[in-house]
Symmetry: C2
Subunit: 239 residues, 2 copies
């Protein structure tokens, strides 16, 4: 059965973490809202009587409707070989994913520290203040953590070792997003995270991911998504 | 084997969602950091070589170290009858939990919209602005969603129907926390959420939970945790 992904059609956003997992696993899927009439179908599905999702992304597969990004990845991990099948390994990958998700949410709030319902332009002073702290304390705290995971007990190719999981795909996307949103910062601290950089390159070079990144299915980053490049936010930090 | 919970010793915080699950299930556990020498043990455990957690809470059980609140509940749900054993049911409960977690994180940011590293007093104007939107748009959006889940297809005792899951315990805690932090708001909108109010009362009356809430193990809400009562934040909304 064809998997249906429901997500906003013009941004990578949280849907991208799901797209990367589907692409890596070679799952045939339809990105519903990007097709004609798809947005109406997505909004209708959100109002369904059975297990309605709070927000996109959500997946329809095997008669299930599965919402929440990390929950979708939990499912895909088990069914498509993107997570260990044993309980301990599954929990560890999920724990890492939820930690990545925390930084993703914090990244969103750098440009929307006051309210999602307001435009960025209506909360720019607050965004500058939040971004300064994000760059100074939050990016290093999280990247130190993941670099440390990759380093112990000895340098590893992926978070769990030799085998890729969905958390590696998400970490790739996180690094890509941070590099897009905060290029000067990421260039400045890049040398401190050799294992993260190598993981990013390793994921990008996987055949299915490389093909996806070159395809039209991969939307570009833009200033509507989670990772936005507003030069004034990053530059403020250096002044 | 005794379960060990590691969390900050003076707040409910995210640890409370885990405590409620352990208490409801009647699991024997030690709240490590609240014991003599426990804080040092907790900090040492966070620096461990194997599956280090990014932050408390985390659980040591059966040789596993499990971090991230929702991930801990995923484990407890399966092992202690707080979630359906079938895949579809397990995913649905987890999806609901992650949605609750999103509002919990947003609640935290009402008093810390700029930086966790700063005191509330150093971001009060921004906190007032964020809280106003939180009260106006975010609380209703989330509570409408959960009330809707409880209402369909017909009014239910718990989110999944007749049987309690860990998501119900977390929803109880969310309502308690919002009532503590924003008492005027919650009193004003209370009549619009009869099923949520009934669920809250139903959870509070469960024998294990009722005993826990009366015990010294239940820490009071305070202004160090996630749900904080700063009257000036709520009052600002009404001016």
């Amino acid at each position: 059965m064809m998997v249906e992904l429901f997500y906003w059609p013009t941004i990578q956003g949280r849907g991208e973490f799901v797209r990367l997992a589907l692409e890596e696993a070679g799952v045939a899927y339809v990105d519903v809202a990007r097709e004609a009439g798809g947005m109406a179908r997505m909004l209708a599905a959100m109002d369904g009587p059975d297990h309605p999702p709070f927000a996109p992304p959500f997946l329809k597969v095997d008669g299930l409707t599965i919402g929440q990004t990390a929950n979708i990845l939990l499912y895909l991990g088990q069914h498509h070989g993107l997570a260990p099948s044993d309980e301990a390994g599954g929990l560890w990958v999920h724990q890492l994913q939820l930690t990545i998700a925390d930084l993703v949410a914090e990244t969103h709030d750098t440009h929307h520290p006051i309210a999602t319902s307001l435009y960025y332009e209506d909360q720019r002073p607050e965004a500058k203040r939040r971004t300064a702290d994000f760059i100074e304390t939050r990016i290093p705290k999280f990247l130190d953590y993941f670099e440390g995971i990759l380093a112990r007990p000895e340098p590893k190719d992926y978070l769990l070792g030799a085998t890729l999981t969905y958390a590696d795909l998400s970490l790739f996307q996180l690094i890509e997003g941070l590099r897009y949103a905060f290029p000067a910062t990421m260039a400045r601290i890049d040398a401190g995270y050799p294992l993260l950089g190598a993981l990013r390159d390793r994921v990008a070079a996987r055949p299915n991911i490389a093909a996806y990144l070159k395809s039209e299915r991969r939307l570009p980053f833009n200033e509507e998504g989670i990772f936005r490049h507003y030069p004034e936010l990053e530059n403020d930090e250096k002044s």
